[in-house]
């Protein structure tokens, strides 16, 4: 995807810490010497193109009441991975869903991430995923500790 100079300047500014102010986009406009409308249009355009996949707040799940977070890895048991992936992804409580390579001692290739309030809720979500997908072989890799969580820096 091509970016022109103004895109790049805008993307750089958008990554700065300006969102705890009443008028963050005006501040970005002032820094770049652009009009407010130009910045707002630019951001909407980046969202439409999918360059910005989400604009908003990221929470720390454990501090927002989601105490039981788990990556559940599935053995797709010879089934159509593309179909099963879509089924898993359609569950509202699955936040991430990918197919990844297997490796020695680890035949699981379908990865789903889920954030739950409790172990009971987690087990309920897993039961629903089993029912929806028909898969039976999985491992629950609960989060023990978050050691690092940051955002990448572009340009």
């Amino acid at each position: 995807m091509g970016f022109n100079e103004i895109d790049i300047a805008l993307i750089k500014e958008l990554q700065k810490d300006v969102y705890l102010t009443a008028d963050p986009f005006q501040r970005i406009a002032d820094t770049l010497g652009l009009s407010l409308d130009h910045v707002l249009e630019g951001v909407r355009d980046l969202k439409e193109r999918g360059v910005i996949r989400r604009f908003g707040a990221a929470l720390t799940p454990a501090n927002a009441g989601f105490k039981t977070n788990a990556m559940i890895v599935w053995d797709i048991e010879g089934r159509d991975g593309l179909k099963i992936g879509e089924i898993m992804a359609s569950h509202p409580r699955v936040s991430h869903c990918y197919i990844r390579p297997s490796f020695e001692g680890f035949p699981h290739t379908l990865y789903t991430m889920t954030h739950a309030n409790s172990e009971v809720e987690l087990q309920g979500i897993i039961r629903e995923l089993c029912t929806k997908s028909g898969l039976k072989i999985f491992r629950i890799l609960r989060t023990i500790r978050e050691l690092k969580k940051t955002s990448p820096v572009y340009f």
Binding site: L14, Q15, D17, Y19, L20, A22, D23, P24, F25, L36, L40, R44, K47, R49, G50, V51, I52, R53, R54, F55, G56, A57, A58, L59, T60, N63, A64, G65, M71, G81, L82, G85, E86, M88, A89, V94, S95, H96, C97, Y98, I99, R100, P101, F103, F106, T109, Y111, H115, L141, R142, T143, I144, R145, L147, K148, K149, T150, S151, P152, Y154
Partner: protein, 151 residues
């Protein structure tokens, strides 16, 4: 966290208004002033409920490669390996999980070569391995939207 905080969080996770005064808009939706909405978000950030407010870019559309890596790390070495991992800005997430392998981290870098260099450095500096490099073959969903319900 009260009902207004929950309403604000449920709105700004996915729909932070791209408008001249975003908090005034959020405030109108939840029935408080823009100033109060902003103050509440500041408190939620200070309290660690919110980690960040801003844009989340699609790494691939930004021309970057991303991957998930896993490495089995003995308990006694977890702190050391976590410290090595922390020095790389390209590594954005690192979690200790149940099972073997137990350490799972994501790398986002301009090229696969750079990712390979990072993994080889961690392996050498930390004397751990093998590090399993597991780039997605297919991505179905990335949508973290934690709906917060009342008590």
């Amino acid at each position: 966290m009260d009902a207004v905080d929950r309403d604000i969080l449920n709105i700004i996770q996915s729909d932070f208004p791209i408008s001249p005064e975003p908090y005034a808009e959020v405030g109108r939706k939840v029935g408080v002033s823009g100033d109060e909405a902003l103050e509440r978000v500041k408190k939620l950030l200070a309290g660690g409920v919110i980690r960040k407010v801003g844009p989340f870019f699609d790494a691939a559309k930004m021309g970057h490669k991303s991957t998930l890596c896993a490495v089995q790390t003995p308990d006694a070495k977890i702190g050391e390996i976590a410290d090595i991992i922390a020095t790389y800005p390209e590594i954005t997430h690192n979690y200790l999980r149940e099972g073997d392998p137990n350490l799972w981290f994501t790398v986002i870098a301009p090229s696969e070569e750079r990712i390979a260099v990072i993994l080889s450095e961690i392996s050498q500096k930390g004397e751990v391995g093998p590090i399993h490099n597991l780039p997605a073959k297919k991505m179905f969903k990335v949508k973290v939207d934690l709906r917060i319900k009342g008590d």
